[in-house]
Symmetry: C2
Amino acid sequence: MKEFFVLVNGELLPVSTASLLIGDLSVQRGYGIFDFFKTLGGRPVFLDAHLDRFFHSAARMRLEPGKSREELKEMIATLQHRNDLPDSGIRLTLTGGYSPDGFAPATPNLVITQQPLASIPVPELTKTIRLVSYPHRRQLPDVKTIDYLMAIWLQPHMLERGGEDILYHSDGSITECPRSNFFVVTAGDILVTPVRDVLRGITRGKVLELARGRFAVEERDIALDELRTAKEAFVTSTGRHILPVSQVDDVVIGGPGPASRWLSEALYRAYVE
Amino acid sequence: MKEFFVLVNGELLPVSTASLLIGDLSVQRGYGIFDFFKTLGGRPVFLDAHLDRFFHSAARMRLEPGKSREELKEMIATLQHRNDLPDSGIRLTLTGGYSPDGFAPATPNLVITQQPLASIPVPELTKTIRLVSYPHRRQLPDVKTIDYLMAIWLQPHMLERGGEDILYHSDGSITECPRSNFFVVTAGDILVTPVRDVLRGITRGKVLELARGRFAVEERDIALDELRTAKEAFVTSTGRHILPVSQVDDVVIGGPGPASRWLSEALYRAYVE
């Protein structure tokens, strides 16, 4: 199998040897942020939006990336050139660095990895997903931290209930999935997505942008009870694009509806253009 | 400066070269547990209690240490022999390992580090600490995870308010500090420590053990309001032993009182015996 290269603090290394010292604050204290985007035919998709969020996450966690937007773009291009993977996923991780006292953030370590894309986006909605709800609010929900402790820990809970992903809720309101945003189409044909205590997904933002003008759109809390009358529901993420929700716990929502289909096609066009 | 050795999956390495591949689930997803104990004059203090908790944390996070208690003790002895550091802090970290999909836990990586002890325990209470309260509940509070995201993120908030540590509370009840347990002596001379949503600290357990018979002891929720009438308050941890709390936010509690002093001396004897 071909081995891919990664960048660790600007140094190109085969992924099988790329490492961080054990004193890194991600290993010691789980402290770091990341972002993840796709390349299609060698072209990074929505790169500026992802870099905006990367800088936002870093600033909120008081981690200094030490690179400008243009420098990051050059590093990404270097990695793309070395790996020759036209369709890929690229992840930028910024950790708390080698902290002398094992607690206070130091100069961050910047790791950029690239891997083949598991699935090329298609406009058709061919799959659905079953969600299992769980009361939890992510720590610093507006920040794309590396903290997936609860998401990983909940996997057996989810599988026992026949779920394929978790849907967090907090104080009776739906927030998000661990790695996706959540949308419903209400009985009154309004496209709604939560806005409090959620990560501002790049795909979420694109879907909202595409939806405005075509649908009535609201960004607000969604009560768990609202699922019972929802016409459609879907999740969005860089990996999943738009993925219809068939069921949440015992509430059957059904397959994709017209709004999901229209948005999926519109998003696909935005991706490939 | 003398360089210390560490054990990475059983291999003795100088700390300056000891690393984990970037695919480790601590770097990717902040998923891991640890424990930390002291050695005094080469003797590990309360080692079995720490190993009990290490195995508990690992089991709760579904991480298989791959080593028995005796094997861990042998590894610790090997490290102690190599480093020749009679008074030290030893940390065992168990991470989610090299996950093929970057999400599901794999064979864990086990890292054991040793460093010189910053402070040798003394029976006298020579310092106090000011706490700043903050509403937060640790994720999986009974598990010693590597998740210190909020604790690190809150440092500037704490410093702006003149604090030296954070005191978490949840639904109006005090729980714990990020790395210490919390005790008060009430107006009615009862020693109280929270029992819900807290890490079962090894020092906490020892203090409770020593206190029983000598003081009225309760393990229960402590309302934030109760601080206003508290006679004494202190925090406990492996690093701090018993450290009196002088102030929480604007509530002045004052210096150490008779219960803190008695317990500090009793704990010191338990340490050195």
